[in-house]
């Protein structure tokens, strides 16, 4: 055996493959669709920009979930918060104007997040059960808020800022995505708060011994997740120019998958904001590509399920090494 043979594994082992799983997966899926769907419009700027626009609310929700999961908790209620916030904003905009609507939408997310956080941090209930309950509770609230009716949003400034407009030729949803990712990445990586979140998720007892207020961190991440889901609700309302109780209902699993595939551990202690963005784009690209492949709806679901399973399996295996 030559020296070169011996050097190969040590070089590979030095590369932290785990960090790149989501990017490699994203690239592989992109290349696959780019080749298979080369004549089906997949690579057009319009289609690629559609993928980013369509996944923007999921990406935003994923940011909140990265904080929550990194702290070792989970927030299942985001699906309902989106609808409640969007409806609260739509109703308020109609009566009191845009600023009041934005406050109402984000405020609804803040209050629900605060309730989740309080019950988890101070009543010491498991976040899975608390947010499962509030998911159902606020799904009911969203239905009763307007008796199942959709509420149109006609304020063009609001719809322009939150989803339908553009600035310097770039759609507002892309601005929101970029700004939210940038801020969240800095807060998560560069601030004491981010470090405390990770420390809490890694080992809550050790974090407490080090002087970190674990309940306060738990309260903070769940409240943050509520506000961020509220923002996703505003983006949906702006994009659709209406709010309805079904908004966000089907997104929960996609958001969780995006966050896990993106390198955040279910048990906490490790997370990645940029990974969640790539995970979310991967989910959007999968939906888009499978539709463009002309598969039946059932086949799309089966293939998507397999790919997500494979992505999560590879991602988690790498992390557990």
């Amino acid at each position: 055996m030559s020296n070169a043979d011996l050097a190969a594994p040590s070089l590979l082992s030095r590369i932290n493959l785990q960090r790149y799983v989501v990017y490699i997966g994203f690239l592989a899926i992109f290349l696959f669709f780019a080749i298979v769907l080369r004549d089906s419009g997949f690579l057009t700027v319009r289609n690629l920009s559609n993928i980013v626009l369509q996944t923007a609310p999921v990406t935003i929700m994923a940011i909140g979930l990265v904080f929550v999961m990194s702290a070792g908790e989970i927030d299942l209620s985001i699906g309902s918060i989106v609808a409640v916030s969007a409806l609260a904003a739509a109703v308020t905009i109609g009566q009191y104007g845009m600023v009041a609507g934005i406050i109402a939408g984000l405020g609804a997310g803040f209050v629900i997040g605060l309730i989740n956080g309080f019950l988890v941090a101070y009543v010491k209930l498991p976040s899975f059960l608390v947010t499962l309950a509030t998911l159902g509770l606020f799904a009911g609230v969203s239905r009763s808020m307007t008796d199942l009716r959709s509420i149109p949003v006609t304020d063009s400034l609001f719809t322009g800022i939150f989803g339908s407009g553009s600035l310097f030729g770039i759609p507002s949803l892309i601005w929101w995505t970029v700004i939210a990712i940038a801020i969240a990445h800095i807060v998560f990586r560069e601030t004491r708060f981010g470090a405390h979140v990770l420390a809490t998720g890694d080992n809550a007892r050790a974090a407490a011994v080090c002087g970190i207020s674990v309940p306060r961190i738990r309260l903070a991440v769940l409240t943050l997740s509520g506000v961020i889901a509220g923002l996703a609700g505003l983006l949906y309302a702006g994009r659709l120019q209406a709010a309805k109780y079904t908004l966000g209902e089907t997104d929960l699993m996609t958001v969780i998958a995006a966050v896990i595939v993106g390198g955040t551990l279910l048990n906490g202690g490790k997370g990645s904001i940029v990974g969640a963005l790539v995970g979310s784009l991967m989910m959007g690209m999968l939906n888009n590509g499978l539709i463009l492949m002309g598969l039946s709806v059932s086949d799309q679901m089966i293939v998507r399920g397999f790919i997500i399973l494979a992505a999560v399996a590879v991602s988690l295996r790498e992390k557990n090494r």
Partner: protein, 353 residues
């Protein structure tokens, strides 16, 4: 099952449009006069022109169910017959935002036609505007986006005849009971367009056309999870009923269970929508007398035909309705085929032998 799926959409439709079938005729969501779906035909020249066009179509569904499958299958078959390639199909899971994303996605394939059932008519304009702007021919099932105009923005709306369904249920009940007897009436006690219109049409038919048949027990059902309790109470209080109308097949199974538990082989059940256990009871000579179903497959055929015809310059009326059929023990095979374009399930086929 379709009722449950359609409830949110139908409620919105009712609130927005005030569509109405209670006056004896099913009207379109915008008050359109119905035309029979079967009246829509294409000439040989029109078909030849469509086949020569190398057109494509996308099917943007609100959600997938047995009903949507039948509509989808009708559309696929008709498109195939006309040489149109179906390039994409989607399922919005009853989420308007997802349906918007679906429309944007399928536009990458530049389809000539989009067939769709709008999740939420009140806000659907923002969903379909990109397709309309791209010049795609749009044909809708059941409702159209608020603000869209027939012919200018979309080709047609295809739906089922709600009044006729309730009316046929009334006739089927009369046939089963020899036009006389005491009836129980289990209706959907909620403000939902589809079920309300069908229930009212049944009641109106019995009250107006059959003087020797009397509805002696009425029971509203708001929550399907409670249908068994409601059925139990009705059967206990009125053991001498000759027939029971049930608003749709799923709760009808609860009524059937209650009758069986009481050892009642006398009371006949008529309900709406095809359902395998109910049909099995019917062919085995049980309590179920008839199941009234719409021609879901034909809805897909008609929408596809209308949209394809528009590419050849054919004008179609604004609101086309398909027939409904009363499926009985003797017609179960044909009924299943006409409604869902499928053979009856094996269990029923075996029971018929």
């Amino acid at each position: 099952m379709r009722n449950v799926i359609f409830i949110p959409m139908a409620l919105v439709m009712m609130l927005v449009t005030g569509a109405n079938a209670a006056d004896g005729v099913t009207k379109g969501p915008n008050g359109e006069k119905p035309e029979p779906a079967r009246s829509l035909t294409l000439t040989a020249d029109e078909e030849a022109s469509i086949k020569a066009g190398n057109y494509t179509a996308a099917l943007v569904w609100h959600e997938m169910s047995e009903y949507t499958n039948a509509v989808n299958s009708g559309a696929q078959d008709e498109f195939k017959r006309l040489g149109i390639t179906v390039v994409a199909q989607t399922d919005a899971g009853f989420d308007a935002a997802r349906q918007k994303a679906d429309v944007e996605t399928v536009l990458a394939k530049k389809p000539s036609i989009i067939l769709s059932l709008p999740v939420d008519p009140a806000t659907a304009a923002s969903v379909y505007d990109p397709a309309r702007a791209a010049g795609v021919k749009l044909a809708f099932i059941d409702n159209s986006p608020a603000g869209y105009a027939h012919d200018k923005d979309y080709v047609t709306i295809v739906s089922d005849d709600l009044f006729q369904m309730g009316n046929r249920a009334g006739i089927a009940m009369a046939d089963a009971l020899g036009k006389k007897g005491k009836l129980g009436y289990i209706f959907h006690d909620a403000d939902f367009y589809v079920t309300n219109q069908r229930d009212q049409a049944f009641k109106r038919t019995i009250e107006q056309d059959y003087p020797d048949m009397k509805i002696v027990a009425e029971q509203g059902m708001a929550d399907t999870a409670r249908s068994e309790e409601i059925a139990q109470a009705l059967v206990t209080q009125h053991p001498d009923l000759d027939g029971i109308y049930v608003t749709w097949a799923e709760p009808a199974l609860s009524v059937l269970a209650a009758l069986r538990a009481a050892g009642n082989t006398h009371t006949r059940i008529v309900t709406l929508d095809l359902n395998e256990p109910a049909a099995l009871d019917m062919v085995k000579g049980g309590n179920v007398a008839a199941l009234v179903a719409d021609e879901a497959y034909m809805i897909g055929v008609t929408a596809a035909r209308a949209a394809a015809g528009s590419l050849a310059g054919k004008k179609t009326g604004p609101f086309l309705v398909v027939d409904s059929i009363a499926v009985t023990k003797d017609t179960v095979k044909e009924g299943w085929k006409a409604s869902l374009n499928k053979d009856v399930p094996a269990t029923i086929a075996d029971a018929i032998k």
